[in-house]
């Protein structure tokens, strides 16, 4: 049933755009390498903003050029890559698990509840950046995703799930604003923007160290659900009959999302729509098989996030745009388009 809906969504027959997994993975890896290099050589500001400026600086003052590369641009690029990968993968798993093409961490409130957890930890718990910060985000995501699964997991109804996401999103956004208004920080009002729109600007290697191990655990948990997701396309009962322990699958999916999204949001804020757009674009290329979609979505998420983060540095605004603005500009029209197509195919 889900496959039909997906086919109807894209208007394509199964397998028409399918490419061999090796070719797809190799292509995405090549794209990632290119974008990573571009990200490392994209600067901002009148001094080192141009593409070749860092190379020019490295001839006059190699130490400073290295400092900029290793301490400013490397953490930023690494974080964009890994956070994008985490969001792309979580999106693919949530879509497979809920058998719903509109499932996505930010739309479902998993990201905003991570922000609430991180905000609570940051301003009231540990008092600033600490290795405990991602755990606040993870707790938030875990609770939100579990609620979601209880509310929307049983029914195949898209509307119920999206409405549950809207409710969780509104509640957590309100609570985040409330927490920030009580925060002693004089900048709290401004920092709401960071937690809602996300940014990789001026992150340090410490942020990489505190979030990457947790995201890696999340990847392992999420990737382990691949085969069960394939079975789930035939329905929960069939999947159980095939020997999959659905409770374990769901738990791994929730925990994996919590590790990935919670850790990511704690250091970069909420970046929406990556988990929606990426699996959707890649789905025809893997023959609509949710299990085979996971690795490409991880790579594709990384690529989209790197591209968006290069975008905020290249777009000449006096204040740097938040990366969440760019992903929302791409993602929200895409989301509307999906809704229009869904309405046509499911009267």
């Amino acid at each position: 049933m889900h496959g039909d809906a997906v086919n109807a969504l894209t208007g394509d027959r199964r397998g028409r755009h399918e490419v061999s997994p090796a070719v797809l993975i190799a292509g995405l890896v090549a794209l990632l390498v290119a974008l990573s290099l571009l990200s490392l050589f994209t600067g901002r500001g009148v001094v080192t903003g141009g593409l070749g400026d860092l190379l020019a600086l490295s001839r006059q003052d190699p130490e400073t050029a290295w400092l900029i590369l290793a301490q400013v641009r490397l953490p930023r690029s690494v974080l964009a890559l890994l956070v994008g990968a985490s969001l792309g993968l979580s999106g693919a798993v949530l879509q497979g698990l809920l058998r719903n093409p509109l499932a996505e961490p930010a739309l479902l409130g998993a990201s905003s509840s991570a922000a609430l957890g991180a905000v609570t930890m940051f301003y009231f718990g540990v008092g600033g950046m600490s290795y405990l910060l991602p755990f606040g985000g993870m707790a938030g995501t875990f609770i939100a995703t579990a609620i979601l699964l209880v509310l929307g997991g049983r029914s195949q109804d898209t509307l119920t799930l999206i409405l549950a996401g809207v409710a969780i999103n509104s509640l957590t956004a309100a609570l985040t604003s409330l927490a920030l208004n009580f925060a002693p920080s004089p900048y709290a009002a401004l920092e709401i923007v960071f937690w809602i729109l996300g940014s990789f600007a001026d992150r340090t290697l410490d942020h990489v160290y505190m979030s990457v191990p947790l995201m890696a655990v999340g990847w392992v948990l999420l990737m382990s659900t691949g085969r069960a997701l394939e079975a789930l396309t035939l329905g929960e009962d069939t999947a159980s009959a095939m020997g999959f322990n659905l409770m374990s699958v769901k738990l791994r999916a929730i925990l994996g999302t919590a590790f990935c999204v919670g850790a990511a949001v704690a250091v970069t804020g909420v970046v929406s729509f990556v988990g929606l757009v990426v699996p959707h674009i890649l789905r025809p290329l893997v023959g609509y098989r949710p299990g085979r979609l996971l690795l490409p979505s991880l790579l594709g998420g990384a690529a989209l996030m790197l591209a968006a983060d290069i975008g905020v540095r290249v777009i000449p605004t006096s204040l740097e745009l938040k990366v969440g603005v760019v992903t929302a500009l791409i993602g929200a029209p895409f989301f509307l388009h999906l809704l229009f197509v869904l309405r046509r195919t499911r009267p």
């Binding site: 600086l57 900029i68 940051f122 004089p186 900048y187 920092e191």
Partner: protein
């Protein structure tokens, strides 16, 4: 003997000219941090009926200690009306709806700019001095400010001129025109922000900062010890590498917020911080 008689005469004359109770508005309400400070300096605490909540906060205003016992407002028309003011001081760009309503109700509202140059401070001090009926006090405050700024400039003379950039919360910096820029020039610092295309106020990218390598980073101290993302920018490890063991120059941010004669305190604080950091 004659000299002493002359002195008595002078004192009598002064009493005759100057009434015991100051003239001018007796219930001044200020709706803005900067006008709070101007009102306190010019009219003193007794004639002020209400100050803004920021003006009463020691983290925001160096004159908060003078507001004890004065009612606090949040820029709302209702609070202002309840204070029965005979003069309302407000900022040019803030609380615009409240200002419009108070004008409709025939209250006397004086709007005051927040100048970004020291010469601009002279203009608004004269304006507010006249409004509160203390023109001579305004002149005295200006003379005092001018004298103290000159003393700081004297102190700076002959010392080596360092390049510097203000790197405040979220990487914000002050270019030209700017009160902090004038204070930097006065203390012999060369502000590099204008070279980076920064106007009055703007964000300096971290990598520009590293490439320009100023001798000194100036940071406004503002509610230290309270966790915020914004104030973490100064702790970036790349900046620590660039500073190579030197410490940033920390100055109290509240002295630089408003264009008032407190800018003399700001200049003195900058000089003291330069001495403390070893730059002087």
């Amino acid at each position: 003997m004659i000299k002493s008689w002359a002195q008595w005469l002078l004192v009598l004359l002064l009493f005759a000219v100057r009434p015991a109770v100051a003239e001018g508005p007796q219930r001044i309400v200020s709706m803005n941090l900067c006008t709070d400070q101007l009102a306190l300096m010019l009219a003193g605490s007794e004639r002020i009926a209400s100050v803004s909540f920021l003006g009463a906060d020691p983290a925001e205003s160096a004159l908060a200690h003078m507001t004890e016992g004065i009612a606090v407002n949040h820029g709302l028309a209702e609070e202002v009306i309840a204070a029965r003011p005979d003069l309302v001081l407000a900022g040019r760009y803030t609380t615009s709806f409240a200002k419009a309503m108070l004008r409709r109700l025939n209250y006397k509202v004086v709007e005051v700019d927040n100048p970004d140059t020291i010469s601009g401070i002279r203009d608004i001090l004269t304006l507010v001095g006249d409004a509160v009926g203390e023109p001579e006090r305004a002149v005295a405050l200006l003379d005092d400010m001018t004298r103290r700024l000159a003393a700081v400039a004297d102190q700076a003379r002959g010392r080596s001129r360092h390049s510097a950039i203000i790197y405040d919360a979220n990487g914000f910096t002050v270019g030209r025109p700017g009160l902090a820029d004038e204070v930097m020039t006065l203390t012999g610092l060369i502000n590099k922000a204008p070279e980076l295309g920064i106007g009055a106020y703007g964000q300096v990218p971290l990598e520009s900062m590293l490439a320009v390598k100023p001798d000194i980073i100036v940071h406004f101290l503002y509610r230290p010890g309270v966790p915020s993302l914004s104030s973490m920018s100064i702790q970036h490890p790349a900046l620590q590498v660039m500073l190579n063991g030197r410490t940033p120059v920390f100055v109290p941010g509240r002295l630089f917020t408003c264009g008032t004669p407190l800018i003399a305190d700001a200049a003195e604080a900058m000089a003291a911080a330069l001495i403390q950091s070893g730059a002087w």
